[in-house]
Subunit: 467 residues, 2 copies
Amino acid sequence: MPTSMPDQERPSVLPGDYNPAEYSAEYKLLYLQDLVADKAYEAITEFLEKQSEYEIASLLESFPTQNRLLIWEQVPEGIKGEVLAELEYDTRQPLLENISSQEISLFTQDLDAQDISEILDTVTESVRTSVMATLDEETRVQVNKLDTYDDWEVGSYMDPDIIQIRDDIYLADVQDWLRENEDLLDDESQELLVVDQSQQLLGLLSLVDLIKHDQKTLVSELIDTAITINDRLDIQDAAAIFRSEDIRFAPVTNSYGELVGQLNGEDIMEIIQDDVDSTMKNLAGVSQDEELFAPILTSAKSRSVWLGINLCTALLAAAVIGQFEEVLAEVVALAILMPVVASMGGIAGSQTLTVVIRGMAMGQIGGSNRVWLLNKELWVGAINGIIWAIIMAFIAQLWFHDIEISAVIGFAIAINMTAANVSGISIPLMLKRMNIDPALSASVILTTVTDIVGFMSFLGLASVLIL
Amino acid sequence: MPTSMPDQERPSVLPGDYNPAEYSAEYKLLYLQDLVADKAYEAITEFLEKQSEYEIASLLESFPTQNRLLIWEQVPEGIKGEVLAELEYDTRQPLLENISSQEISLFTQDLDAQDISEILDTVTESVRTSVMATLDEETRVQVNKLDTYDDWEVGSYMDPDIIQIRDDIYLADVQDWLRENEDLLDDESQELLVVDQSQQLLGLLSLVDLIKHDQKTLVSELIDTAITINDRLDIQDAAAIFRSEDIRFAPVTNSYGELVGQLNGEDIMEIIQDDVDSTMKNLAGVSQDEELFAPILTSAKSRSVWLGINLCTALLAAAVIGQFEEVLAEVVALAILMPVVASMGGIAGSQTLTVVIRGMAMGQIGGSNRVWLLNKELWVGAINGIIWAIIMAFIAQLWFHDIEISAVIGFAIAINMTAANVSGISIPLMLKRMNIDPALSASVILTTVTDIVGFMSFLGLASVLIL
């Protein structure tokens, strides 16, 4: 067992002995693992009571599937719903299979429509119907509204719970009204939506403005303008707007211009993080939702596609080598040095590719700077290519004492590295023009190019110079 | 020129013709490129006036260095300081070299201490001194305070501007006080810090609570507890705390327990995004701060280290192949098929590596689940290895009609893919234990392993079976 786990509540104020390491995800994971190994059920509950919903979800996801149910049963009843909503789909789904619809209704009772909708997306139609029947009218309408959206649309990420105030009242009235209806605002609210008599959105009133101005001021004098987002917009585009307009909150309207909800910065941040995450996974050829603790067969299957594609491209490269059987049979040194050429090209190309794909995601590549970048990468490739060509030719000379072989590998490396850098930018640009996500396929095409160019230039030059 | 650019201000409220594409970073980039090509200076200024500081910074970063000064000169004077603060260090530095210290003083006049400190980090000591002399006393003290921190410490990211209230006053008094000092709160404030008579931090009062409760309530009754963060903590650890505790704001204290500032969610989100970004770049062997539009020589140099390391490992692999000269000279088919074995292992290994490195960053790997994961990856590798071994053996048989060669490549692929998956998790685990960032070096070590195991098993088996 880890040496000590703070047994107080989550740190309140300035504890003298506050040690952030004790609050690290990894430390908590180790602690919980020991409790699970000891089957110390009571201690698990006690421990989980001190964690946030996000942490419990993250801890559940850090256990292999078979242990999750055991931990789940120790989660305090009052927050089970929120924990469910925080879980990734692939973790939530098997858990929910073990829970009756009565229980699910119980957990979802106090959740907001967003969380309920997320949970109900994971259950069967019949469970869904019976849970929906237990919701109050308002929540049911909101959940149904959220479910009309596809999961890439802004609508499915928005909070349908909005608070509107009229523009022709005084700040004092707003404060009075908020006090009378104190359930309306949660601790995270920052802004109120201001509408006119005909329910048209005029803009926002920030809580700060509400407090700091004279209470006899009219709301209409303090309205901040708002960037409105359409409910059918792709959530990725919405994220780009948040980033570029530097906003942390936006009202959402439908195509009739009616206010239907609000989009919060936290949700957008999650989108941005998920986006970078899936770019990384795409580049490595791992399925986007492959979960670390997925069962063996699920993982094996999720990675097969990429392995299959890679086998095809590797065979293509082998076929290229096959064209040069004659020279390979003659000079065995070529077979020995061959992988070096392909490898240097592969690295140079993927360096360029990574920088370019990040730039694309940030919207920094387009128009005339593409030519500039292409030109730049050509030169970077040529300069590095020539430097490493000279170094490698020198090494080959020391190794094989054959000036022809040294010359061949030098030229081949210079050619391949230059081609690799140019491919590293032109392949994603072409894919983008064809509306294909560059992160998904650029790296496999690039490897094919660098292998083929590498083997062809090396063995081709060898055929000409040596045979 | 793009067909149309909205000539209104940034969209205020529900414009009927609101088209998010017109607000995409890429669209704006194209538009600005055209203006720059036309040297339409006035139009550039007019266009920039409608963009946020963040957008202008991002646009500047999307141009090659030589155009940046031209655009910079058209940035409206009033926001030049904020734009400077938004820029990446590598973009800001060459710009500032062209600006006199008088001008810098002018830009920084209305900035907060955080922004000023960031800008002054980029200038020479003499410029710094003369700009500091123009600041008011309070700001100068704050800037000096920020500069005592290293750039990885929480202190250098915190906002030193904090608003404290006493716990023994009524909500009504707080509201009155805020109204009298309305400059204190900016639009983004959400929480007030509550201290007792001896200046010890007690917790937070949210603006929502301030508004919605009876104004005769004492502040002390509404205090939310706060997780406090030490000013010398590594900012990455602070980000982990924000994520795991699900907070969006934290007071910062020094080692004497004194309140010195506050850390905001937006800054943390930037850290998290930068972190994933640099993981991606590390995996591809690109220097962390290599900028897309960096000059040719800078980029060439930044990528050299990795290329050099890769050359060493490729030579190591070549040396392994060199051990099997005899069998290679005998059977040229081996030289042709050899890269397929290495390539399949490389892909399988990097799939595992990517999933593992992400899991590590999220703190999900540790303790007993390491054994579980190792075991899982062993099986995933073995299952996929055997499947692709059979497929490849079949293809080799069709190609070379030699059962021995087919058997050799089949076994070699199965061995290499299993070894690759196990390496994909054990290499980052070992690196982490040695306190080396796995993202930085795991992928090069992995490639070395998959190359060497691949060539050795393939050519080794061939020597035994065929010779």
